[in-house]
Amino acid sequence: MAAGNLVQGALFTVMVVRAAMLRDPGFADELAQQIKRSPRFFQSAPVVLDLRGVENFTEAEEFERVRDRLGALTLTIVGVQNAQPAQLEAATAAGLASFAPNASTQPRAGSSAAPPAAPRARLVTEPVRSGTQIYARGGDLIVTAAVSPGAELIADGNIHVYGVLRGRALAGAGGDTTARIFCTRLEAELVSIAGRYLVSEHLPPETRSFPMQIALVDDQLTITRN
């Protein structure tokens, strides 16, 4: 084996938990709810603790306590972000990795900390044929071609179709009620957001073949002209 193969780079999607949020008593419940909605997504998922704006966490055992709390929720803490030097030292002692940016390397330019990594959208550029199912886990799905009848688009986030949507589209599949569906021509068999759905028979006829946006408003699927 060539020596170059021993170390390889790879990119991962990692959840970031704000340390400031941990003080909120409702936080654990809310997170537990979220995990219950899509348990497979969260199972043993790696978590980075963002220490921005918190003064404590200068002792290794504070990290141990967080490790236990998140562990109870099936999450695994793997590192810290935005740590002050003392916090970083304690985190290292607790066996946690350092994720950029940290205070020592961070230019002092106000709130210029890198935004938490947004889940990447899945992009599909070929027509989605009948019988095909595409799932964008944890993010948006963008299709730049037609979606045929009998095809199924599923996304935990929004669904965008730059073409005719003739198949099914299920946005917010993980329970996200703010997810939306956008298409340049609505002729769908079924649209659904966070479990609420409409079949084509119940889609208002005046929306047919027009560019439309579908959202959940007061628990009702609402279709508006784009």
């Binding site: 009948s130 037609a146 095809a151």
Partner: protein, 293 residues
């Protein structure tokens, strides 16, 4: 008819023309998902059309257990060994290939009527394909309907696909499904090679019924399937006559369908030809006077 047996050649069938040496042997699957849309008629017409253009061509029947190609090609009384015999090693290729009586470049490879699709073992089919590639320029695979083992095996080795579609919604949807399968389950897809090049052939097209709104128009089908259009074959009495007499319709020069197939073959070979038979036929005065030509 005793003279017929002379035409079957037990010897190797001549040197490969442009076949394998030049890497040009091309496998074309004729498929549709839906049954009864004209796959076998198209396979016969296309194979004969390619042969008429000087290309050494074989047409294989993949519809094991529902053998029809031999009838449409008019060689049903000359079948001794078949595709499954060759796959199983019970016969060699040249014992099973039937040479067409109308054209030297055209060969028919019949299938078994007594077996079922499970007899199509992928390794066996692959071996037969490789052998055929050494002798022929074009290998036309007449797929069975459906999306099960038989249809998947027929399209697996394809370089090109001709999607036979009728101008009606259920046929269009099934075509769409099979295009998706070609893009995900063909050998080219599995090996991450350049995708199978897919062509649309619209058959049984009746411009008068399209004008009345009873049939989908060419544009509608093209828009839904979004693949290039190879040709439009008009609904024509000559097609039924051709399959009943066992003569591929391209041999009938008076048939609009035959001429449309000749055009489609020319387009497949890279020629530009205007689409014909898209408008309702104007009632010809003389024809009205003297009855149908």
């Amino acid at each position: 008819m005793g003279a017929e047996t002379d035409l079957r050649e037990d010897k190797p069938i001549g040197p490969a023309k442009a076949g394998r040496e030049a890497g040009l042997a091309k496998v074309i699957v004729i498929t549709s998902g839906k049954g009864g849309v004209g796959k076998t008629t198209t396979s016969a017409a296309f194979a004969a059309g390619l042969a008429l253009r000087g290309h050494k061509t074989v047409v294989i029947d993949f519809d094991v257990g529902l053998r029809n190609l031999d009838l449409v090609m008019g060689c049903e009384r000359r079948v001794v060994f078949d595709f499954i015999n060759v796959i199983n090693g019970d016969a060699n290729l040249n014992q099973a290939l039937i040479k067409d009586k109308r054209h030297d470049n055209l060969f028919i490879f019949p299938t078994s009527q007594t077996r079922d699709k499970n007899a199509l073992k992928r390794e066996g089919v692959e071996r037969v394909m490789e052998e055929l590639k050494q002798q022929f320029e074009y290998i036309i695979c007449d797929s069975p309907a459906g999306i099960e083992h038989g249809a998947i095996t027929a399209l697996y080795f394809a370089d090109s696909a001709i999607i036979v579609t009728n101008p009606e919604v259920s046929s269009v949807r099934d075509s769409d499904r099979i295009i998706g399968i070609l893009a995900s389950r063909s050998r080219r897809a599995e090996r991450n090679e350049s995708p199978v090049d897919v062509h649309l052939l619209l058959t049984r097209y009746d411009p008068a019924r399209v004008a009345k709104g009873e049939m989908l128009a060419v544009e509608d089908v093209k828009e839904i399937l979004s693949i290039p259009l190879l040709g439009v074959i008009p609904e024509s009495e000559s097609v039924l006559r051709a399959s009943n007499t066992g003569t591929p319709v391209v041999f009938d020069e008076n048939s609009p369908a035959g001429r449309a197939y000749v055009d489609a073959v020319a387009r497949f070979l890279g020629e530009q030809r205007e689409m014909r038979f898209l408008k309702p036929e104007r009632r010809n005065f003389f024809r009205a006077l003297f009855g149908r030509a």
